[in-house]
């Protein structure tokens, strides 16, 4: 069992989807219309997608709980929740939980994004009864024994130290913090002043307040609907009452953190679009027009990516740059990040920014839009080859929108994006208030007001 920590991937704007049966047998694939959604008596949404090709079943319990919902005295509590997934709960001790799972050869993990907490179980179809009972007990019947919470604090310290070593991860956290301040600006990881301060009562209160039925869903892949509903019959929801999420308010600003070294990392974004916005697909196309990194491994990518091409002309030293398009349910971030040698950072940033500026002034070429649309569709299709991607995508769509889009619908939406749509969304998004985060050796990295 592992407690994975992931933040939203760069191409999260894509609505991932269910792929058609025509694909190869290696894939966990089903008919697009096969997703069945219903509601349990306790109010939790259940969805299932049956598949006959794979012997593996996946079940994900997703709760709309994340750093976004933390109060200022609860910073990092989601981190604590995530690492305590394998601790004792009301129906099983930690030892029992581990042994049950190893007995059936299953994986139980907890993934946190800024908006959702996903408890995922992968196991063989024959062992689903034990597997699902372990999953439900770990996700909804947390006991938070005080002596075990103390053990968890060590894990939190370790993970925070690992993140501290990775400038890219710190850059993402800094970027969100400066862009949103609270709600989506809250970090995925616990701050150092909270180490050792999470108590059993605090965690229990957080769970009882936020794990409510309408904010939870269970999705099964490779399992029949009746079967899944039967396993979930005894599930009880820890929280009650309803509380609306605070809307994410984009503020913009600048934050810099000097840590020395050879390289500098910077990200500049403006407010993007939420996943429910009708122009979100056009924004993904724009992202691929600007360039998402090399399409051929180990190449320098200038053939595929406009911003890599622009930055390559500004410097002859190693660099990397990619367009960012992060989407949440009601807001997003659109821009780019760049990594370069400390002395070249100014040129690289100015070159990439001018590329973005030229899109708003001069528009985009037809063939760039065509190429981008194909890339969006191909990327979405490739992501759907992995069962865990499929199920996490369904989970997030179900919670934020209430419905799940199939691959055909998504492809149709991508195909219907016109050049004018891309230019319009570019003008709308790129001309917004910018946010900048920079970390590394910032000796020659310009400030935001020097760049704009």
């Amino acid at each position: 069992m592992s407690a994975k920590f992931t933040s939203r991937s760069v191409l999260q704007a894509f609505k991932r989807h269910v792929s058609a049966r025509a694909n190869t047998a290696r894939q966990e694939s089903t008919d697009a219309a096969g997703l069945q959604v219903s509601k349990l008596p306790n109010g939790v949404t259940v969805a299932s997608l049956d598949s006959t090709t794979s012997p593996v079943a996946r079940v994900v319990l997703v709760a709309n709980v994340g750093p976004r919902f933390e109060e200022s005295d609860q910073l990092g509590i989601t981190h604590c929740l995530r690492v305590s997934v394998d601790q004792a709960n009301k129906s099983k001790t930690a030892f029992e939980l581990t042994r049950h799972l190893t007995q059936i050869g299953a994986n139980l993990s907890c993934t946190a994004t800024r908006e959702n907490l996903m408890y995922s179980l992968d196991c063989l179809k024959d062992n689903l009864d034990i597997g699902v009972s372990c999953l439900v007990s770990a996700a909804t019947q947390q006991a938070f024994k005080p002596w075990e919470i103390q053990d968890c604090q060590q894990r939190i310290v370790f993970e925070a130290a690992v993140v501290e070593q990775q400038p890219e991860a710190r850059l993402t956290e800094m970027l969100h913090q400066v862009a949103y301040r609270d709600t989506l600006g809250r970090s995925l990881y616990a701050p150092s002043h909270m180490f050792g301060k999470y108590s059993s009562e605090m965690l229990m209160e957080y769970v009882n307040k936020n794990f409510t039925a309408e904010r939870m869903a269970v999705i099964g892949l490779g399992i029949g609907h009746k079967q899944l509903t039967r396993y979930l019959k005894t599930m009880s929801v820890p929280g009650s009452g309803s509380n609306t999420a605070k809307a994410a308010k984009y503020s913009g600003g600048e934050v810099r953190h000097e840590i020395g070294g050879d390289t500098a990392y910077a990200a500049i974004v403006t407010e993007g679009l939420g996943s429910q916005n009708k122009d979100a697909v056009a924004l993904s196309v724009l992202q691929c027009v600007m360039g998402c990194g090399p399409t051929i491994k180990w190449s320098n990518g200038s053939a595929a990516s406009k911003i890599i091409q622009a930055a390559g002309q500004a410097t002859d030293q190693p660099f990397a740059t990619s367009c960012i398009n992060t989407t949440y349910s009601d807001s997003g971030l659109f821009g780019f990040y760049a990594v370069a040698q400390a002395s070249q950072m100014g040129q690289v940033l100015k070159a990439v920014l001018s590329e973005f500026g030229s899109v708003t002034k001069n528009g985009v070429a037809d063939q760039d839009v065509q190429k981008a649309k194909m890339q969006v569709k191909a990327c979405a299709a490739m992501m759907s080859e992995n069962g865990s991607n499929v199920i996490q995508n369904i989970a997030q769509q179900l919670l934020s929108e209430g419905t799940v889009q199939s691959q055909e619908e998504f492809f149709r939406l991508v195909d219907s994006v016109s050049k004018q749509d891309v230019v319009n969304v570019a003008k709308k998004v790129i001309n917004g208030k910018p946010s900048m985060a920079a970390i590394g050796n910032l000796s020659t990295t310009p400030h935001l007001d020097e760049l704009m």
Binding site: F95, R99, K145, P146, W147
Partner: protein, 111 residues
């Protein structure tokens, strides 16, 4: 005798006998409770580690007071002795939990 917090209907003469036996014991005169006097086996030690801080501190205080009293061959004044009604079996739930966990481990390791 009733275990932990369960209230069991006990006949009057049993209760009287229990009170008499309790008051004749040494430990209430030092202000201790029954669970303070348990021999510290592995199970009991693990249970003590799980006590909440305030319960643990109170236990430590009672034991230190008792040790210093017994060192002077003294006891508390009669009105401060622990009474049977006030005696709380605070450690029993933790002991039960530790024993249950050990039983589960033993069962699993048998296979």
């Amino acid at each position: 005798m009733a275990v932990a917090a369960k209230k069991v209907a006990v006949t009057v003469w049993k209760m009287t006998l229990a009170k008499w036996a309790y008051n004749k014991s040494y430990f209430p005169s030092l202000g201790m409770m029954r669970d303070d006097c348990l021999y510290e086996t592995d199970v009991v030690q693990e249970a003590i580690k799980r006590l909440p801080n305030n319960v643990y501190d109170a236990r430590q205080f009672r034991m230190s007071r008792a040790i210093s009293l017994s060192g002077c061959k003294d006891t508390l004044p009669k009105d401060e002795w622990t009474k049977l009604e006030e005696d709380e079996l605070y450690l029993q739930p933790y002991i039960a939990e530790v024993e249950r966990e050990r039983d589960i481990k033993r069962e699993w390791n048998k296979q």
